[in-house]
Structures are given as C-alpha cells and as structure tokens.
C-alpha cells in the first residue's frame, strides 16, 4: 500500500535546488495525437479504419495491413498486469534520479499488450485501470493504476510525477474579490494545499465575502492587482519562490461587441485584466516556477488559466471580451512552450457562462463558481492540461473540434452561440 506523503520540511537553505530533468521528449507528429488526448485525460489508441486492428505505440501505418488510415479512438481502460519489473538504474538522467521505477506489460481489454508505468499498489496478475497523462516532457505516457481506489493512491511517487496534486503544495489564487476566487480558495484549502495565497486588489474598496475568505484554513490574503505591474512584481518578490500552483481567477467581462460600443476604454480594461494580467503574472512568477519544477514534494507543477470558451471562437454578443480572452488563450500556448522542460504544466480550463453578475442575463445552464473550482481541483489531481467545464462549453468544444469554421459561421448568425 502507498504510504501517505508527509508535508515536506522547510528547505535546507544550504542545499542547491534540484533542477528539472526530463524523460524522453521526442515524438513523431502522428504520436502527438496520443499526447493531445492524454492532456485531456482520455485514453486513446490508434485503430485501423481498414482492418480494425488496434496498435500501440503510435505508428505511421497499420502493422497488420499496412494501411495509412489509422485513427485515434477512445478505448476501454481495463486490463491485466501480466508482467512487471522494477528498474534500478537508467542512462536517462530523469529516471536515474527517480529509480527504483516500476514498469510492466499490460494486456488491455482493447486487445493488445502495452508497456506502461505501473502504480505501486498493482500486483502482478492484478486488474488495472489504464490512464494516459502527459509526463514532465509534456508527452503522453501510459500508466496502470489499481482497478479499485487504494489508500493514499494519489501519493504514489510515480503517479505524482504525472499529476499536479495540490496536497502539501502552495497555491496562489490571483483574485479573491469574486465568488469564483473565494470558491477556488475553499476548494484548494479542502484539497490539502499547505498555503493558499489569495490576491485582493484595492483593499480600500469593500467586497462581499472578505471576512469569510480570510477565515478559510491556510488562506493568506495578499495585496495583488493584476492590472498593476508594480503590485504583481512586489508580490512575486515576496512569495515568488514558494508558489507551486498559480490559478489566475482575475477576469473582466462586459457584454457588447465592437460596433455597438463607444470608444475603447472598456476594451482596454478587458485587455488589462484578461491579457496583460496573465502576461504580468508570467513575467513575475514564471521564472521562479520554471526553476522549481523538480523541487521535491512541493515542486512547482501547474499554471492554471481560466478561460471563457469564447476564447476559441468569438461570440459577438460578448465580442470585445471574447477577443481579449482569445489573446489570453493564444498566450497560454506561448507559456506552454516557455515552460517546456521545466515540468510545470499549463492547465487551460475552458468554461461556459459563469453564474456571476456580468453574465446575469444569460440563460442556464451556467457554471457555478463552486463547480468550476471543483473541476479545476479535480483536473490538478489528475494532472490534466485541458479541461472543459459546463454543458455549454462541452457542446462548444465538440463543435469546434468538428469544424472551427462552421462553428464560427454559427456564432455570427443572429441566433448564434
């Protein structure tokens, strides 16, 4: 059984911080289909459209009939561990630092046998549940988990390399003035974060829930205004070395497009919060997190962007806000590139209309702040990089994946969205 990890002691200030190293990074273009699904937490394998053969690892052509017509398909997660071994040494620096390391052969319900990382609670011959996740290289890998939940299962050392579990980690939530920020603080505190720093802008302006926020266990309220570079830099100089998970809850949402608005003051406010906000946070907190990607139990592990699903395709009713969120979405890809090699994951949570004042007139179904917070915590615990929250967002994403240009046309119809 997995032993519960303990809250790490304070760092020995004389010890050099362990630098991030990486498991093998190279993948073919074809194989990235597996990584894309792993980032969403989906277990997919290639299936031949001509002869139905399932294959792994990713290939250019079907090993049975040589057809090039292979497609990624969701697969049943069940299987059986038929052989396992524990690796004691490796020429790869990443694994060398982490041995002993369990790997094994799993006979999948999908009909093939694969080599995978093995959770410590799985016994040879035992039933397993397969997961696909991105590793520290940002590439999809397979891991076999016990079929049934075991005690302290998430604390398995190999599994924790794939996840961003808030347990014992220090979290920064950038805006605690909103219900969303406060729900997020409660959820992260409940998930076992050792400290939840919560940014609050303009403390001279009262806000609902201030006392309740300060009373959440492990919450520390800090001055932070993402529209103010000085404020962001000051907080980073104070706590930048101990932020393991950063969740940007700051958002600025106003209805209206381009032509039916007068002037650009509101659009500038949208960009200040939705685009320049994360940019300031990245410049201030990014370098410290990138350096601390392998810093023990509470290593830096995740950067969370909360993005309206209309970041993917503009909804003219909220056209100007959508544009600023599209900028933030584009920036998240740049960030993923810049975090590559650090072991810090970028989690994009795309959500549909949120239950809050500036979207009050929109019809249900809506995402509650609590629902979004719960989904984000779940995604961190699972180590996901892509998350879609709410029925509207899920439907939107399905249509976007089918054909983004058709979706764009739909959105510009009078009854669009």
């Amino acid at each position: 059984m997995t032993e519960a990890i303990k809250r790490p002691r304070r760092k020995d200030p004389q010890k050099r911080t362990v630098l991030p190293t990486l498991p093998p990074t190279s993948r073919s273009r074809r194989a990235l289909g597996f990584t894309v699904a792993a980032a969403e937490g989906r277990f997919v394998l290639q299936k031949c459209n001509d002869c139905d053969a399932v294959t792994y690892p990713p290939r250019e052509a079907c090993p049975k009939c040589l057809s090039m017509n292979l497609a990624w398909r969701d697969m049943p997660e069940g299987g059986e561990l038929i052989a396992e071994t524990t690796i004691q040494t490796s020429t790869n620096v990443y694994f060398r630092e982490r041995t002993p390391w369990r790997v094994g052969t799993v006979a999948l319900e999908a009909g093939i046998t694969v080599l995978a990382h093995i959770h410590g609670d799985v016994a040879e011959g035992g039933r397993v549940r397969m997961i696909a996740r991105t590793d520290k290289s940002g590439q999809g890998v397979l891991m076999a988990l016990p079929e049934e939940e075991t005690e302290n299962m998430a604390d398995d050392k190999q599994l924790r390399e794939l996840t961003c579990d808030p347990k014992h980690r220090r979290v920064l939530i950038t805006d605690g003035r909103t219900q969303l920020g406060q729900a997020m603080a409660r959820a992260l505190s409940a998930a076992g974060a050792s400290t939840v720093f919560v940014g609050v802008a303009e403390t001279w302006r009262p806000f609902a829930g201030a006392d309740e926020l300060a009373a959440i266990p492990n919450v520390e309220v800090m001055g932070l205004d993402v529209t103010d570079t000085v404020s962001v830099n000051e907080l980073a100089s104070e706590i930048g070395g101990k932020v393991d998970i950063l969740i940007n809850t700051a958002e600025y949402v106003r209805a209206g497009g381009a032509m039916d608005r007068d002037g650009i003051v509101t659009a500038r406010d949208e960009m200040e919060v939705n685009y320049f906000g994360p940019l300031r946070l990245i410049q201030a907190f990014g370098p410290g997190m990138r350096f601390r990607g392998a810093d023990g139990v509470n290593s830096a592990c995740a950067w969370v962007n909360l993005l309206s699903v209309y970041a993917l395709s503009n909804w003219p009713a909220y056209g100007s806000t959508s544009a600023s969120q599209a900028a933030a979405y584009s920036l998240s890809q740049c960030l993923r590139g810049e975090f590559h090699g650090s072991g810090v994951k970028v989690l994009n949570a795309l959500f549909g209309p949120l239950e809050e004042d500036w979207r009050q007139h929109l019809p249900p179904p809506k995402v509650t702040p609590e629902g979004l917070a719960k989904a984000v915590v779940g995604a961190l615990q699972q180590g996901l990089e892509e998350l879609t929250v709410g029925a509207v967002a899920e439907d939107f994403l399905t249509r976007w994946k089918q054909d983004p240009r058709v979706l764009a046309r739909e959105l510009t119809q009078p009854e669009g969205a």
């Binding site: 303009e202 403390t203 001279w204 302006r205 009262p206 205004d225 529209t227 103010d228 570079t229 000085v230 404020s231 003051v265 509101t266 406010d269």
Partner: protein, 266 residues
C-alpha cells in the same frame, strides 16, 4: 524701502523671492503622491470608471536603455490630487475657455481661505458645509476676498485608504458643501474655485442633494474650478496664504493631476 506695487513698483516680487530664500515664506506641498494604491472615485459599475494611476518601466539602466531610467504612466484626468475644469461637468460644457488648456492662467495663483470643518466632519462623516457656516467663519476671520480659492479642511486626507472613500452599500460617506454654500461663494464672494481633501468637491452622498452634486454642477456651470484630494491643509492659516495650482495643459482637458503648492508667511 517697503515692497509695494503702487509706490515702489518692481519691489514686490524681489521681496517675495528674497523671503523665500531666507525661509521667511514656507512652501507647503498640498499634493498626494501619485500611487497605484491611492483611491479613486468609484461610480456605479455600468458607467465608465476613473482609471487608476499605473506605471510601466521603459528602461532602467538596462538593455532597454543603458544609462537612463524612465517610465510610461497612465491615469485619468481626475486621478490623485487633481484640478477640475468647468467642462468637466455638463453644466459648464458650453462655456468659453473652460478646458485646462484654455482657461486663463491667472486663476492658478491666488489667495486662499481655509475653512476649518475638522470638528464637524469628525462628528458627522456626512457633514454639509452651509452658507451659514461660511458666514460664521467670516465673522471670525473676515470676509472672503474676491477671486480667491476657498478650501474646505476636514483632515480627511489623514484617513486610511478604506476610511477615505468610506464606501458602504449605500455609497460613499464623506463631508462636502451644500448648494447654499457654493451659491454664496460664487454669487456673493466671486471666488475662483473651491477645493477639498476628499475624493471629490462634493460630499460622498452629494448625488442625493439638490441639485445633485451641487459643487460640481454650480461651480463649473459658473466657470469656476475645483481641486480635490488635497493634503496638508492643516499646515495652512485660515487666511493669508497663496495657492499655486496650474494643471497640465492638456488639449480640451476636463482636468488634470497636478502639484498643488501653498506659500505661507512664517
């Protein structure tokens, strides 16, 4: 030789300059530092908002500019200690020469009367200064001279940021003048402007007065100026000081942040 414009022309300003150097006249700064943390007026959220003061570094003796430090700053025309021109308000929109770049510069250097309302504001955060209050002040300090500035001292500038705006669920609570006081200052004393320590020339609940926001409505409608977010009024005498308050020369500007100084004889 006595400094005197009439009998000894050319003596007043040299005498003033000499007194400044000799420290017989003190220069007092009535300005808050432009700081992102300094409160700005908060309007209902569906209206456009006053931009906060912000700075972005352009270079600081680094690869962006090896030998120099400079920054971009952004703010509203009404951020921090600032000047209100008549076109700031709808009542003054059609007046000639009513923007900061076109109003005559003479009004920027004038005598100043300081009306002490500290006791009243401490007892009632919604204290309204009235015509009768000003008449009582005149009984003690003399008649408010024509063309001067009148400043309302409340010590509000000494409050913490949260207590300064004093926002509650029914709006801000801070002292200010009522319509009778402003009408008196304009029509019976012909002042050039009126200033306060609070975030606006009007009381926090001034929107509920008649007319709403009487200081803004009446002063600017009559082509007079406003000053707000002033500090250090406790260092000024009730009368006898000189106020210096030139706003930035912004084309069609409705106001501007500025440095406000006062000269006080020791």
């Amino acid at each position: 030789m006595t400094a005197d414009l009439t009998t000894n022309p050319g003596t007043v300003l040299p005498a003033l300059a000499e007194a400044l150097v000799a420290g017989k006249i003190r220069t007092i700064d009535l300005t808050h530092t432009l700081d992102p943390d300094f409160p700005v007026i908060i309007l209902p959220p569906e209206f456009g908002q006053c931009a906060r003061f912000r700075v972005e570094e352009v270079s600081r003796y680094d690869e962006r500019g090896p030998a120099w430090y400079w920054r971009n700053f952004t703010c509203n025309e009404h951020t921090g200690t600032h000047f209100d021109a008549p076109i700031h308000w709808v009542s003054g929109k059609d007046l000639p020469n009513a923007s900061v770049d076109s109003i005559p510069v003479e009004g920027f250097v004038r005598a100043v009367c300081v009306v002490d309302c500290v006791k009243e504001a401490a007892a009632d955060e919604d204290f309204l200064m009235t015509r009768d209050f000003l008449l009582a002040w005149e009984a003690e300090h003399g008649k408010i001279p024509e063309g001067c500035w009148v400043l309302m001292r409340t010590d509000w500038s000494k409050r913490s940021a949260a207590d300064y705006l004093n926002l509650r669920d029914d709006g801000a609570h801070s002292p200010g003048p009522d319509a009778s006081a402003i009408t008196f200052l304009i029509e019976e004393r012909n002042v050039v402007g009126f200033g306060t320590e609070c975030v606006g020339t009007d009381a926090g609940q001034g929107g509920h007065l008649s007319p709403p926001y009487p200081a803004h409505f009446l002063l600017h409608g009559a082509g007079r100026y406003g000053l707000q977010c002033l500090a250090n009024l406790d260092q000024l005498p009730p009368t006898g000081a000189l106020l210096i308050c030139p706003p930035l020369k912004i084309k069609n500007g409705s106001g501007s942040p500025l440095r406000v100084l006062a000269l006080v004889e020791e």
